[in-house]
């Protein structure tokens, strides 16, 4: 069973390293337009062909990995930690704390955050460096994406609050912080792992959608989200099936993540 996990871990590492070394591994700069070879099919020169402006798709995929695969997991981690903190605290303390926190969570989930994001874009200078803009985008996604999971974490914490081992720990004088972190949090892992796992592709796609507000990556910097948005042009996929490569790659990464983090479940 560990073989699967090992393969998954290796595959993930390869993709991450390839992204980090994009500057070295990519045959061409992501912005370079080979205008005489626009919309070219895969070949020795262009492994995944070129896009409508003659940019090498393989290079753009590699550079896009840097943006999406580094930042999306960080944003996912942020939202998971927030969900654990807010949901966990609410469930642990219960009573009015819980009611207030859950009301705040429900309110948070209902707000049209699109307008906050539009306002953020308005406040940012137009000549903001692409890396800064992308960092801000993923931070915002992490800060806004915790609410749904917090409710589930709260419910889980409540169930654990009155369980025997918690009562015993309390009786033994265990402090609240330690009780939560050492005894309750490990039992909330299923929910937290689920939140983390789902958030990665969701944030990658959300970053592309935020392009409509001027956030996210701007031309010519690529991201997996912007490459995946090409799939909306369905009729082109039949003619250019290599457009599906970013989807398969993301799927592979997401599946590998799941295999790695759920390794314990199968190591009996």
């Amino acid at each position: 069973m560990k073989a699967f996990t090992r393969i998954a871990a290796i595959a993930l590492s390869v993709v991450f390293v390839a992204g980090l070394l994009a500057g070295v591994l990519a045959p061409a700069h992501y912005a370079k337009q080979f205008r005489e070879d626009a919309s070219a099919s895969p070949s020795g020169k262009f492994l995944l062909g070129t896009d409508e402006l003659g940019r090498d798709r393989f290079s753009r995929l590699l550079y896009g990995s840097r943006v999406s695969l580094l930042l999306a997991p960080c944003a996912a981690l942020l939202s998971t930690l927030l969900a654990a903190l807010i949901g966990g605290a609410a469930g642990y303390f219960g009573g009015r704390w819980e009611k207030s926190a859950m009301l705040f969570t429900d309110l948070f989930m209902s707000m049209p955050w699109l307008f906050l994001l539009i306002t953020v874009r308005a406040v940012l200078p137009l000549n903001t460096a692409p890396t800064t803009s992308v960092l801000i985008t993923f931070s915002l996604l992490g800060l806004l994406g915790w609410a749904a999971s917090a409710r589930v974490v709260c419910s889980g914490t409540k169930s654990l609050r009155n369980s025997e081992f918690v009562l015993q720990a309390k009786a033994a004088g265990c402090r609240a912080g330690r009780l939560f972190a050492v005894h309750m949090l490990p039992n909330l892992k299923p929910v937290l792992f689920a939140q983390f796992w789902i958030s990665i592709p969701v944030f990658i796609l959300a970053e592309a959608n935020l392009g409509i507000l001027g956030l996210g990556v701007s031309e010519p910097l690529p991201s997996w989200g912007s490459l995946l948005r090409e799939l909306e042009d369905f009729s082109a996929i039949g003619l250019q099936p290599w457009r599906l490569v970013p989807l398969f790659l993301l799927l592979m990464v997401v599946s590998c993540f799941q295999m790695v983090i759920s390794e314990k479940e199968y190591s009996r």
């Binding site: 069973m1 699967f4 009611k99 859950m102 009301l103 429900d106 309110l107 989930m109 209902s110 707000m111 049209p112 955050w113 699109l114 307008f115 906050l116 539009i118 306002t119 874009r121 308005a122 749904a148 999971s149 409710r151 589930v152 709260c154 419910s155 889980g156 409540k158 169930s159 039992n187 892992k189 299923p190 929910v191 792992f193 689920a194 939140q195 796992w197 789902i198 592709p201 969701v202 796609l205 592309a208 959608n209 995946l228 948005r229 799939l231 909306e232 369905f234 989807l247 993301l250 799927l251 997401v254 599946s255 799941q258 295999m259 759920s262 479940e265 199968y266």
Partner: protein, 300 residues
Amino acid sequence: MASGSAENSRGRSAARRFLQRLVVFFITLLLAGLLGATLVRFAPGFGLSTEQLDTRLTPESVQALRDAHAGERNLALFYARFLGGLFTGNLGTSSSFKRPITELLRERLPVTLGAIGWGMVLGWLLASSFAASAWLFRSRTYDLFTTVLSGIFLCLPTAALAILFLLMRAPGRFAIALVVFPNVFRYVRNLLATSGELPHIITARAKGLGPSRVLLWHVLPPAAPQLFALLGVSVSMALGAAIPIEAIAGIPGIGQLAWQAALGRDLPLLVNLTLIVTAVTLLANWAGELFAQSLRSHAA
């Protein structure tokens, strides 16, 4: 006599709790409307539209277009007027659709509620079937298969999903199910896996109870409170998914309304939609809490 008065006291206590909930519900709605209105009002582009770029218009006409939003510029006044109208059943007029909002919602709300209903039922059916079967089979290969399957729908942009349905001539609203399914599946799978490792499960299996019986009677109940919480939360997910799906598939629901209202900075419509979304979210989550609560008291 003693049991009768205990029942009366329980009844009064329940009525008091219900009343408290109702008060909290309305205060939350009010707050949500105000916060939503604030976000919209102070976002750039408020009160502006492409119509103002029409080169035929005189300066007076352009000013008139800007003045059309004058009543909305003072947020406090706008909200007070809006609340006043709410009590008389007047939800205002949409500036982007130029129609009474009551009419718009009457036409479109049932469409979206129906789509969300279907999306939830099918999404949960898929998620729980795959999660339950993954627990029952306990096969790494099957787990990988379900992970990849749910991963596909997580990684596909919602717009692409909506177009795929149209290509297959399937009703676009079922695409909501494929947005709900992967989001719910992972949680359910992980919760069942954890719940299934509890000591009493091993005892039950050792005593020869069948896997289905173990799943239904012994694995599900400990996970139920979190599952109910997830159920409530998945309503918000489905509502969120409805917006791009309706906009792309041309389904005349409130999702399509919301998208156009956002692009047009239609304050009255957006405030109403925020209230609807908040109400649905609150009701769904409280229903989830209620079920979880009753399960806990039953178990106790």
